[in-house]
């Protein structure tokens, strides 16, 4: 029975980490839009390449933030949460 409970905890953590990384879609679309616009801008005004590139990299980094939140949550779910939850379970059943 205990094995089953621990298995459910581990499986739940892994599933949760996988679901959290669905957030990776957003930054992908956002950064794609940013780079597409930057390409257009450079094609229209090749002399402004430097400033456009640095602005685009800034924008990409800011757009990446939500994805990185998801990544941090996924890493916590994989490396930190299982130990914590198993300890809580063991304390609850008094083992």
């Amino acid at each position: 029975m205990l094995e089953l409970a621990i298995g459910i905890i581990l499986g739940g953590c892994a599933l949760g980490a996988g679901c959290a990384m669905i957030a990776g879609i957003g930054p992908g679309i956002g950064e794609g839009n940013a780079v597409a616009s930057a390409c257009e801008a450079i094609a229209r005004q090749p002399e402004s390449k430097g400033s456009v590139t640095s602005t685009m990299l800034m924008g990409c980094a800011v757009a990446e933030t939500t994805g990185l939140y998801a990544l941090v949550i996924a890493i916590l779910l994989i490396f930190v949460a299982p130990n914590l939850l198993v300890n809580i379970l063991l304390r609850a059943i008094g083992a």
Binding site: L57, M58, A61, T65, L68, Y69, L71, V72
Partner: protein, 304 residues
Amino acid sequence: MKQKSFRFIAADILYIAMMVVPFVAAIILKVLTTPPSDGVSITGARIFFTIPMPIQDLIVTEAQINSLCVMIALFGLCLFLTHGLRTRDISVRQHLAEWIVEKVDKLVSDSMGKYFMSFAPFIIAILALSAFSSFSCLLGLFPPTSDINIVAGWAILVFILITYNKLKCGPLHYLKGFAEPVAFLAPINFISEFATPISMAFRHYGNVLSGSVISVLIATALQGLSNLLLGWLPGFFGEFPFLQIGLPAVLSIYFDVFSGGLQAFIFAMLTMMYVSDGFPMEEYFARKAAKENKKSAKQKTEVI
């Protein structure tokens, strides 16, 4: 060309030692303290020792030691670059130092304005510290920036700077800033105020950490692949992971060099943006001008 004096060369050697010795010491420490393990594993910073403290024990980790090493090395680099400054027939290192200073001054004046020129040393310091911390994983060290405690410390420092600059016009003006543009948005403004350091810390930390996690995963996958392809060879050739030689280094160029440098630049850019946006420029100068007018009017009346 005058012959360099003995003292000059000795100081140069000392500065170069300051750059090299911390990294060598950190590598030796890592080699000595890493327990033998088979396969690749993803771990956090290794804890060297804990100092007992009244509220909570102070943990001294690999990340703190490495970050101190990077600081000492950067200090040595600065001393080396600015050693023997001259006004005529300047040396290569002085050219380099002047180029760095000019670039940083231009960057700061472009993105913050002339008023904030005194921020330039702080900006280049945080940029260099962040970049060299990320680059230190090229030597096989644990990069300090992939530990959230280090990056959160910098983010809190930046938050204090932002708040200090917002408080330049007095606490009342600062509190009024929360009620912009409408008064009932104040809670959201309050949350977004504290979201700034958290997002800055998580952005930098997450980028570096994701790079190292992906590198480890790919190294493990390459080991499995080379076992699959070359496992039929007898003895040593069958066990040695040939595909792990060189191929992970190609990814390291993106994840460590490009991403690390970019994140350092972005951290510095965001610092400049937040600080200069938070400063109530028009209000501050209006008050300053009003004060000076008052003062001069007073002086006039005293003279008369």
